[in-house]
Symmetry: C2
Subunit: 139 residues, 2 copies
DNA sequence: TTGCGTGCAAAGGTTTTGCATGGCA
DNA sequence: TGCCATGCAAAACCTTTGCACGCAA
């Protein structure tokens, strides 16, 4: 956060909720719901505006993981900004898994070398069918 | 299309527009615009309902390529349903390119073998920075 | 005091739905 | 005739914006 940026109750509540849910992808609606449950009286407008700043400042990342609903957001720890990974999302059951392996690096290097394109893994979602759904379909 | 599915002027117009623009990703709004330009009087409701059927029947594929705007759609030729490719999308200039290379296959095989996940390339978008934008940023 | 932050309401855009009418077979 | 398709309007969603007021520094 910059110096011309005031500390407020709402910002603190929202940031804390992000930090408490580091491992989750939160939607604006989920954040609002939590605030209401806590009687914290934070408006949706404020949530969106606060998220926007957190994304700009780099401590929260924006994803579009679910085609049906809107954006979701996740807190990024300082030391983990380089720990990038793909997401695998099952189009049947919606299950989301993280993929972090060598092949990814190799693909990215190839794409950069031959196609001049720098892939941002953290934004990328590979859609497909997970093992469970595949087996269920085979029956 | 099934037998309990009537041929109408609107369906024909929409399907033809898809076929004429095989190489493009069309949004519902673009289709409506075209229909209006042709004085074809097709409502947005009908466009969405018709697209839904085309997607279900497998001759049109739905994508979410642009985070800001909504879904877009592309006609799939009968013989080309297996010709799948990744999309590369530049998060700065919005440029979209198609990627169809060996490394992709290798990554998919790895993911299937080690993570039990069957990737659907056609749905997948790799986000990042294209060559032009990277060079512009370096200046 | 200054200027950013907040909340409400309203608008924006995309997509869906209810309902009566219209048209295919 | 029977059923599906259409169009309008309205709603449902997610997100943004205008404006007045509140609050941090």
């Amino acid at each position: 956060m910059r110096s011309n940026d005031y500390k407020t109750r709402q910002k603190e509540l929202i940031l804390n909720f992000f930090i408490e849910n580091k491992e989750k992808h939160l939607t604006a609606a989920e954040i609002l719901k939590h605030m209401n449950a806590q009687d914290s009286n934070v408006s949706m407008t404020t949530i969106y505006r606060c998220i926007e700043k957190l994304v700009s400042s780099g401590c929260v990342r924006k994803y579009f993981l679910d085609e049906r609903s809107g954006a979701c957001y996740q807190y990024i720890e300082d030391g983990h900004t380089c720990h990038e990974h793909f997401h695998l999302k099952c189009i049947e059951c919606g299950m989301l898994t993280h993929l972090d392996c060598q092949h990814m690096q190799s693909l990215n290097q190839h794409i950069l070398k031959h196609h001049g394109f720098t892939v941002d893994n953290s934004r990328t979602v590979l859609y497909g069918i997970c093992e469970k759904c595949l087996k269920r379909n085979e029956r």
